[in-house]
């Protein structure tokens, strides 16, 4: 193969056809309220860890829905489980339980 000094870049498009949502469906089954998120941003605005890291609950959910599992799990790791997002969520989403479910389900997946 020849090195031309440049190469094909990966498309930034999320190809939804290739996204495997099996684990997300399990997560949904355990936490039906997960889909009521309307991305208002309260969780991220109030997040204790979010002031110092890139953790954002709404983005974690969105990324899992779009198959960006690795990036999402990276964010989950930053969570300090303080509970502020659960306290403030205007849709009443049980964010704490969802984060715990994610850790369990997606880590099982890795094993």
């Amino acid at each position: 193969m020849i090195d031309f000094g440049f190469s094909i870049s990966k498309s930034s498009h999320i190809q939804m056809d290739d996204v495997d949502l099996k684990t997300f469906k399990k997560l949904e089954a355990l936490n039906p309220d997960i889909n009521t998120c309307m991305s208002c941003g309260l969780c991220t605005a109030t997040c204790s860890a979010g002031n110092f890291t890139d953790v954002s609950f709404r983005k974690i959910i969105l990324m899992l829905q779009r198959g960006k599992d690795k990036e999402a799990l990276q964010k989950v790791k930053r969570c300090m489980m303080c509970g502020k997002c659960m306290m403030i969520c205007s849709r009443g989403i049980n964010t704490r339980n969802i984060l715990l479910s994610i850790t369990r389900l997606y880590n099982e997946e890795e094993k």
Partner: protein, 347 residues
């Protein structure tokens, strides 16, 4: 001066022309009849009901369109209705209007209520969506027709379905910068209904804002998310094409993630917005009434003058002045009837 309305004339002798036999026209006629006038509905089609007659179920309650239509009809069974009729001329005399119909019948009226409603946006104009080119791109009206008849070859066990909000609305490229008001709620209603029929399908709604402003609308949104697993993606579909299997390939941006996305769909439903009914153009010409910047009929102000036009004795009700929901339309038809009442009693 407070009008006493202790009038010497007989209200029954006062004719009111109602142009258009949709929900606005029917309700205005009903109220005017109750008030003692003689409303005459002129409808160009062979039946009453306008778009309501084409619809299956109504948001947010899912009650049938037919049920509402029957109630509206029941209310006007004593009202004079002229179907299959076009107005060919309206001539204003001192206090009355001389009306000529397509069958050459003519009569005098004391007031006119324009209830010409709306046309659905012609989806072919948004060429990038390929309506009329790609088989599985359909409109909200066609999906509603399917719910009524269950007869549409294009809807064949779809596994992935998309809804595009704001088709022909909030879009300077088609010269419609306004919001059509009903599409957000209609999309979520139809999304739930189609999910109900095909429970294994993934249903996506591509929206820019979900404008769930009315009573029960936000509940519909929650229900769609929670009970029907409708996936709302914030971002407008930019392009539709067809792959080798005849399935649709769409592109949009997930603006909440800031990433472009692509997916293959079995069905794409375009939420066509409202434009003023083209039938209103001739009527406006006859009555010397202009259009506003959105192309709808110009009424007198946003707060209290919405039932009136600049021409004395010419009133408006319903979606002919701006996109409206059914509750808005019916409420406005009632208030217009009241304005006509005040006008006729003072004349």
């Amino acid at each position: 001066m407070t009008p006493s309305y202790d009038n010497t004339y007989t209200m029954k002798e006062r004719n009111v022309l109602i142009i258009g036999g949709g929900p606005a026209g029917m309700e205005a006629a009903h109220q005017l009849k109750q008030l003692g006038f003689n409303p005459i509905i002129v409808e160009r089609n062979d039946k009453l009901g306008g778009h309501l007659a084409q619809w299956d179920r109504l948001f947010p309650t899912s009650e049938t369109a037919e049920g509402l239509l029957e109630r509206l009809k029941e209310n006007i069974k004593d009202v004079e209705v002229r179907l299959n009729s076009r107005i060919t001329n309206i001539e204003k005399n001192a206090e009355t209007f001389h009306v000529t119909l397509s069958n050459n019948k003519n009569f005098d009226v004391d007031a006119v209520v324009i209830c010409t409603g709306f046309d659905l946006f012609n989806a072919e104009k948004k060429q990038e969506y390929g309506y009329g080119i790609y088989d599985r791109v359909i409109t909200n009206a066609e999906l509603e027709e399917y719910f009524k008849t269950h007869n549409d070859k294009r809807i064949d066990e779809p596994q992935r379905i998309g809804f595009v909000h704001c088709v022909g609305s909030r879009d300077i490229k088609v010269n419609n910068t306004y919001c059509s008001k009903v599409c957000c709620a209609t999309a979520l209603k139809q999304a739930c209904e189609i999910k109900d029929e095909f429970p294994d399908a993934d249903v996506y709604c591509f929206y820019m804002d979900l404008r769930m402003f009315g009573k029960g609308y936000e509940d519909l949104y929650l229900k769609a998310q929670k009970d029907f697993d409708i996936k709302c993606v914030r971002g407008r579909v930019c392009e539709v094409s067809e792959n080798i299997e005849g399935k649709l390939v769409i592109k949009a941006e997930d603006t909440l993630l800031g990433t472009p996305m692509k997916m293959t769909l079995d069905l794409l439903v375009l939420m066509c917005g409202m434009e003023k009914s083209k039938g209103a153009d001739e009527i406006q010409k006859m009555l010397n009434i202009e259009s506003n910047k959105d192309g709808f009929i110009e009424n007198l102000g946003a707060f209290v003058g919405m039932n009136k036009t600049k021409e004395k004795g010419v009133f408006v009700a319903g979606a002919c002045t701006s996109p409206k929901t059914l509750p808005d339309t019916i409420a406005e038809a009632r208030s217009t009837a009241m304005e006509v009442y005040h006008y006729l009693c003072n004349n």
